[in-house]
Structures are given as C-alpha cells and as structure tokens.
C-alpha cells in the first residue's frame, strides 16, 4: 500500500521501464516504417486489453462492449476530423465514450454474470446495426472518409495513450479504489455491507476503461482512411481484449500487456505466414493456454522465477 516505497524499492525495474519508453519513443528515427505500423497496432491491442482489464480484471464482470467504445471513438474522429485539430478530436472521442459508458454502466451494472456479458455485447451490436440502418436509410451512403494523419503521428499518439493507460491501471491497482474493485469482484454483497458504494465504483471504473478505448478508436480511425459501422464496431474487438487478457493473465498488471503484445505479434506472423491456418493455429494456442496455464503466460513466468515449477504446494 505504500506507494512511494514500492516505486523506489525497485529502481532497477523502473529504470528498465524508462529505457524501454525511450527506445519506443525514438523508434521512428531508426526503424523501418513497416515496424512503426506494426508497433502501432501492437500498442493499440495493448491499450484496449489493459483498459478492459482495469474494469473486468478485478471485478470479474466480463464486458463485451469494448467494440462499442472503440467504435464511438472511430465515429467521433470521422465526424469531427475535418473541423477540429487532432487533439480536440481525440479528447472528444474519449469523453463521448466515457459518458456513454457512464450511461450503460448505470443501466447494466445491476446485472451480473451471463446477463451482463450478453447485455454489453448487445450494446455494441445495437450501435453497429443502428448506424448501418441510419446510414442506409437516412444519409444514403454507408461509411465515411476520415482525415488522414501521418503514421508517425499516429504512433506517437498511441504511445502517449499507452503510457497513460499503464499509469492509470497502475495507480488504480495500488489505490484504495483498486481494493474496492477487488472486494466487489470477490463478494459484492459483503462489499456493500462494509460501506462500498458498489454502483458508483463500478460505473466510474467502467467509464475510465471506456475513455481509453474511445481515445484509441479516435486515433486509429485516422490511420484507416475509410470507415463504416462494420469496421468501427467490429465484434472481434470486443472479444480480443478478453482473449488477450486471459492469454497473458489478469492477476498482474503486466499480464495483459504481454498477452496483448504476444497475441498481436502472433496474429501478424500467422496471417502473413499461414493465411489459411491462421485461425486454427490461433485457437489451438489459446486452448492450450487456458487448459494448462490458468494464470496466463505471466503466471507461468512468475512460477519459473520462483523456482516453483516442480514444487507442489498443498494450497495451490
């Protein structure tokens, strides 16, 4: 709980983080453009996965609304991109997602388990289909052009959002707010009886996670040039963060980060090398991870470091 102590007790890992950040920040100067684009998409997945984990990790409420918040960011960018400068567009995208999540949160967070999952999924589907209907019947054209932004600019914006989401996730985990979230995930009824206003805590956290998804959607849209409801509200984007977080392990902050990074990289390699077997290989890897590594990749690495791979513990 002692925040300052935790940071300064580990000058080594802090230095390592800082070094990595400098490396990533200077990357566009010495790597190929292709790598910058690849890194952008890896970071995009990391941001969405980490922001998904901020809410769904500790509370165990599995949200499938990521596509909705991401798509809202995308559409904000398409609508406002021509009239406003990039920072304004991104902030608008995040804020609209934030407010939307507040509303959805107040409506749905009384639901639990399967009902919550289905409802959040329906929300993103509803928005996709509504926009499709609107564009076909009202405006007459499906899809929009988005004002383009340089790849390197997109990369830097993504990098900034990435740092912000990591910092936010870290601070929430370390704070009393994080403890409240974990209490809710463990035993919600007991949590309300020790004075936690569970509705407020859940709704705000849900909105914070949507904030980053909206920001990411807003900047990624500028990279895609053309968007339509099917691209913006792609249901795959709701499932990816769940899979990536499980793959990496939700117990630690770096679980979803590594999970998303490896996953996104794997996707890139597999789609280029094995375009026909890509999904098959992907699925097999996922099944193996879920079956044999209940704490994800990071859980495995931690066990290794602890020298505990062969040691059996009565309590584990």
């Amino acid at each position: 709980m002692n925040r300052v102590g935790i940071i300064f007790k580990k000058p080594f890992s802090l230095g390592l983080l800082f070094l990595a950040l400098i490396l990533f920040a200077t990357a566009p100067f010495y790597v190929q453009p292709y790598l910058v684009i690849l890194l952008t998409s890896v970071f995009m997945y990391i941001i969405i996965t980490v922001s998904w984990t901020i809410f769904s990790g500790p509370t165990h409420y599995i949200s499938l609304a990521s596509a909705a918040f991401f798509g809202v960011g995308v559409y904000t960018s398409a609508l406002l991109g021509k009239a406003f400068p990039l920072p304004v567009v991104i902030i608008a995208g995040s804020l609209i997602s934030f407010v939307l999540a507040l509303c959805i949160g107040l409506l749905t967070l009384r639901l639990r388990g399967m009902y919550f999952i289905i409802f959040t999924f329906s929300i993103s589907e509803l928005m996709r289909n509504f926009l499709l209907w609107w564009e076909t019947t009202m405006t007459g054209t499906v899809g929009r052009w988005v004002v383009m932004v340089e790849h390197v600019t997109v990369y830097y914006v993504i990098l900034v959002i990435f740092v912000m989401v990591l910092l936010t996730a870290y601070l929430i985990r370390r704070s009393r707010f994080g403890l409240a979230l974990r209490s809710i995930g463990e035993q919600e009824e007991a949590a309300t009886h020790i004075g936690i206003n569970t509705t407020v805590v859940k709704t705000i956290t849900f909105a914070i996670s949507a904030f980053f998804m909206g920001a990411t959607g807003a900047i990624m849209a500028t990279k895609w040039k053309y968007i339509d409801p099917r691209i913006a509200f792609d249901p795959l984007l709701s499932f990816m963060p769940v899979l990536m977080a499980i793959f990496g392990g939700t117990g630690q902050l770096f679980g979803p980060v590594f999970g998303a990074a490896i996953f996104a990289y794997l996707e890139e390699i597999l789609t280029t090398k094995f375009p026909y077997y890509y999904m098959l290989l992907f699925g097999s890897i996922l099944i193996v991870v879920i079956l044999f590594l209940p704490h994800g990749m990071v859980g495995l690495v931690q066990k290794w470091w602890g020298g505990g791979l062969n040691r059996k513990n009565a309590n584990s």
């Binding site: 709980m1 403890l179 974990r182 009824e189 009886h193 020790i194 004075g195």
Partner: protein, 239 residues
C-alpha cells in the same frame, strides 16, 4: 437509550409473509438474541435492517433516524455492521486486506491509508488472527473465517453489530472462544444483536431474547423467561 427500533416491520415474498408486523427495540449497550425455528424470518429481519432487502412495510429507526430505504453502504456508514450466516469473505484477498477494506470504506469520515492499516492490524490482533494475516481468506478454517468476518464488521466502527449465526459450525471449544469474543466486543461499548441456534451461548451472553415464529414475534424477555415460556417450548418442541 434506544439505538434501534422497528415498527410494524413486514416483508412479503409474493404470498409468503417472511416477516409480519414485527415490533422490536434494542437499547444502547445491550446484547439481544434473536431465535426461532428454521424459516422463522430471522435472517430476513437482519436483511431488512442492513438494507440488503427493501421492506414491504414498516419503519426501522437507528438512533432516532429512519434508515428504511437506505442502501446497505449508507447504513454501514451510519454505524450498523453485520456478519453473514455463511461467511461472505473476500475469499481471494488476504486476511489483512479483508479487514483493511472495511477500515477504509466503512466510516463516514475519510480515513488515511496508514491509519486504516493500523486499525486493521489492531482488529486482527483483537480477534487473534495476526499470525495468519498474509493468508488468503479462503484458506482459513471455519472458526477463523467467522473471526475474520467479525473483525471486518468491527473495522467499519459500528455502534450496532449484528451477528448472523456466528457460532454455527463451531466445536464446543470454539463456541466458548466465540462467546468470550462477544463479551470482549460488548466491553468496547458496542451493542449486539445476534441470531443464534447454540442455546448455551444465547442463554449465557444475552440480556434479552426475541423469539420469531412464522415471521411474527411470539415472545420476548430475559433468558430465564424465554427458557420457561410455554409458547416458546411449544414452538421448539412441537408440543
């Protein structure tokens, strides 16, 4: 002085009157027992007081202010804490974190993290769980789980503490220890309202006992009066 009073408390689940027009009051500093056969409505009454269920009718006042209609977290912050029949701990959190969460959120006034940590540690000491503070709550044996629930309830700094069968599932040594704990809590000036099936415990620690049957209050009095009451014996022994 009355700390808690209920008038005409009623809770209907469809056609079933789980609690029907119950009047009761509890005085500051008292230990009051709530007994009755299974399904008498004891836990439902607790749920109505703590706010986990909305009442169908009637009014509950705590320290003179109406608390019916408030949310559980609001009622907790006013100073009413409870435990659950089947211990509802934060199973994946450590023993210490369980108590810490209650210290942090249980009171109306904001508390700093170091203060809350100190308080949580003291309470774990009080219920004799200091040695297992880094264990996960789910790894505790039943007696310690019950103790941890008590510590967590105490961490919200209540003036009124409600125990829902805190001694169920304990062996006789553990029951004796639990009774000792109840007495220790009472000495802190905390009023106690407890549901219990262990008669030895209820007769020894309570000042007054309320008996529920089929949702209605059928008797009330000192342990001696209840033990010799004709109606109570009939209800329990089916005579």
């Amino acid at each position: 002085m009355r700390i808690l009073e209920g008038q005409n408390i009623t809770k209907h689940f469809g056609g079933l009157a789980a609690v029907h027009q119950v009047d009761f009051d509890i005085n500051q500093g008292e230990v009051v027992g709530l007994i009755g056969p299974n399904g008498a409505g004891k836990t439902t009454l607790f749920n109505l007081i703590s706010g986990s269920l909305p009442a169908t009718g009637g009014q509950i006042r705590y320290k003179g202010n109406k608390i019916t209609g408030l949310k559980p977290h609001q009622i907790c912050k006013r100073g009413v804490a409870r435990t659950f029949q089947s211990a509802k701990l934060f199973a994946g959190l450590t023993v210490f974190e369980n108590a810490l969460a209650a210290s942090l959120f249980g009171t109306k006034r904001a508390i700093s993290v170091p203060d809350a940590e100190k308080e949580a540690a003291e309470l774990l000491e009080f219920v004799e769980l200091s040695t297992v503070r880094e264990m996960r709550a789910k790894d505790l044996p039943i007696a310690n789980r019950k103790r941890l629930e008590v510590a967590r309830a105490l961490a919200t700094k209540p003036d009124l503490l409600m125990f829902d069968e805190v001694m169920a599932g304990l062996n006789s040594v553990e029951v004796a220890q639990a009774m000792e704990l109840v007495t220790k809590i009472r000495k802190r000036g905390i009023t106690i309202f407890m549901i219990e099936h262990v008669m030895k415990a209820i007769m020894n620690v309570c000042d007054r006992i309320i008996v529920l049957h089929h949702g209605s209050k059928i008797a009330e009095g000192t342990p001696e009066e209840i033990a010799t009451s004709r109606t109570v014996i009939e209800v329990y022994l089916g005579e």
